[in-house]
């Protein structure tokens, strides 16, 4: 080593202690001495409050009151009474986004996408997912991650990403703040995630839910991704992370809940969620994810066979997919939708256009006129009138 290099090394070593912050251990909220916030944590919470304000203002929140209330009731049932009065807020917000995602801010507020709610099969699975997210907040995983990152400047590049090349809806990740980005996209350390699995499941079981639903949920999501042959950008949309969850939950169940049964709450979930299934299917349909849209809509039909909007949208799935047998299926669905609710305008137009393409002009005319009668202010009125004018000339 040359003299110059030795001098440089000496200076560097002298400065190193100034660059690192300490890392005191953190007790979970609700435990003795665990309810006070350290200075950096207080700042983190203030940052989070800003991120939340931005998300809430952005028009991305799903606002069906009955569904929002239901999801929050499940969360409330999950959280022990001792924790409800602590510094954390028990509040679940739903985000209009068809991708698989749920994440918690360090203050306890949980954001969950319509996409994952549309894939969840029952209330127990919802409770288990909420329990996992709540544990990230109650066990202060965010502040641990921040402290760790402050010591690893190399991790910073991933931490300060402004935009990401994830394409459809994945780019919504870039709209999250820094804290939300870590929580929703990168996830926490493997140890933290396993802790969230374990403690979250403890909460769900204590609330009376069946632990066996935990691996089923993630196995279901994993199969879903495998079938679509594509990973999504968020934590719960990546195959390796789902495999980890399945393995982790199976191990926890083997160790602690081998003979434990519990409530599944499939009926309650299916009874409450259809409006969300329909709304999420509408977005999936716009994106062109026909199979996902069809699955969600069929869940609605299984629950309520005369759900006019779901029937109409199933007709749209068939029409737009246009696979073998789809034209017949779409007509059938439109007619079922009209039978379910004759005052619902959209299937009349869809059926009219379908009949028009098939050359059944008189029947088409009747349906299109009915559409305009039912929806006089329809934004596409000019199109329909144009078609009717053409028909009147034939």
């Amino acid at each position: 080593m040359t003299g110059t290099a030795r001098t440089a090394l000496w200076i560097w070593l002298w400065f190193i202690p100034f660059s690192f912050t300490g890392c005191a251990s953190l007790n979970p909220f609700g435990t003795p001495g665990g309810d006070s916030l350290e200075e950096d944590e207080q700042r983190l919470w203030k940052t989070v409050a800003e991120e939340e304000k931005r998300l809430d203002r952005s028009g991305t929140l799903y606002d069906n009151p009955a569904i929002v209330q239901y999801v929050n009731e499940v969360a409330y049932r999950l959280i022990p009474p001792t924790m409800r009065s602590g510094p954390l807020t028990v509040h679940v917000k739903i985000v209009k986004n068809p991708l698989l995602n749920a994440f918690a801010y360090p203050n306890g507020v949980i954001y969950i996408h319509t996409g994952i709610l549309a894939r969840i099969e029952n209330e127990a699975q919802l409770a288990i997912l909420l329990g996992h997210e709540w544990t990230h907040a109650s066990h202060r995983h965010a502040v641990q991650a921040f402290r760790s990152m402050q010591r690893q400047s190399a991790a910073l590049a991933a931490f300060q990403v402004i935009s990401m090349p994830f394409g459809i809806f994945g780019s919504a990740a870039s709209a999250l703040g820094t804290v939300g980005f870590v929580a929703a996209v990168t996830g926490y350390s493997r140890a933290n995630e396993r802790e969230a699995d374990r403690e979250g499941l403890t909460l769900a079981v204590a609330a009376g839910y069946a632990p066996a639903e935990a691996p089923r949920l993630f196995e279901h999501l994993k199969r879903d991704l495998e079938r679509r042959k594509i990973d999504e950008p968020f934590f719960f949309g990546t195959h390796p992370r789902l495999v980890e969850r399945v393995d982790s939950y199976q191990e926890i169940i083997r160790e602690r809940y081998a003979a434990q049964s519990g409530e599944i709450g499939e009926d309650r979930y299916r009874r409450t969620m259809p409006p969300l299934f329909v709304d999420n299917a509408t977005t999936d349909l716009a994106i062109g994810r026909f199979e996902l849209a069809e699955e969600s809509l069929n869940r609605v039909i299984r629950q309520q066979a005369d759900h006019a909007q779901a029937l109409y949208l199933l007709g749209e799935v068939a029409r737009q997919r246009n696979a073998e047998g789809d034209p017949r299926r779409s007509e059938e669905r439109y007619r079922q939708a009209i039978a379910a609710n004759a005052g619902y305008a959209d299937p009349h137009k869809a059926l009219g256009m379908l009949l028009l393409k098939r050359g059944e002009t008189r029947a088409a005319e009747t349906e299109l006129q009915e559409y305009l009668r039912l929806a006089p202010d329809a934004p596409d009125r000019a199109y329909v009138e144009q078609e009717l004018r053409k028909l009147s000339r034939t």
Binding site: R54, S58, G59, K96, I162, S171, P379
Partner: protein
């Protein structure tokens, strides 16, 4: 005011992108867009951004140019042209070569609905129109940006010589949208196909 920082950073990125991935120039008067078979008269004194050939995103979207007076977030008239095989930016659905203007318009709306930066989309108008004689669509939407700002946009489009041409105007709803809408309509009416002439000559 984290949004401000993000906005500034985004703008910095935009500057960086603009610097390397396209050029700004002053426009005015009739302009035949080279090799694109189209002539449009842009408002005099406005600024035109032309993406560089190396701009992959622009090529993917068929983005030919954007014209603005005050800045692209305040009014943007954008011209795109692409083959149907290229598909759309956000929706995975494809258009068949014999697609009707109505179905084409529905795909355009789906593409907007599948855009995560467009929130609370309301279709205000969805009507047939012509672009230099070719049957096409007009879609007017109102939406909110990710930040929450109310915006409004008009999208014209049609199939011409088997290619999809799209001309749009997007502006904040307050003050800006109405201000330059007549100018945009003039631009739309100035559009002329050159491919027909080239083909026939």
């Amino acid at each position: 005011m984290r949004r401000l920082l993000v906005a500034v950073l985004s703008i910095s990125i935009l500057i960086a992108c603009a610097g390397h991935q396209g050029d700004w120039s002053v426009v005015g008067g009739p302009q035949v867009i080279e090799n694109q078979g189209i002539e449009v008269e842009w408002p005099r004194g406005w600024m035109k951004f032309t993406p560089a050939n190396s701009n992959e995103q622009a090529s993917k979207e068929g983005w030919l140019l954007t014209v603005t007076r005050d800045g692209v977030n305040l009014q943007a008239m954008t011209l795109k042209k692409r083959s149907l095989e290229q598909g759309f930016t956000n929706t995975q659905k494809k258009a068949a070569p014999d697609i009707s203007p109505l179905d084409l318009a529905e795909l355009v709306v789906d593409d907007l609905r599948a855009n995560p930066y467009y929130h609370d989309i309301h279709v205000i108008e969805h009507s047939p129109t012509t672009l230099d004689g070719d049957p096409g669509y007009k879609v007017v939407i109102r939406y909110r940006s990710t930040a929450g700002l109310h915006r409004q946009a008009v999208h014209y489009g049609c199939l011409h010589t088997g290619l999809l041409y799209m001309l749009s105007y997007d502006a904040p709803q307050r003050h800006y949208y109405a201000l330059d809408l007549p100018t945009f309509e003039t631009v739309k009416n100035s559009l002329k196909w050159k491919v027909r002439e080239l083909t026939s000559s």
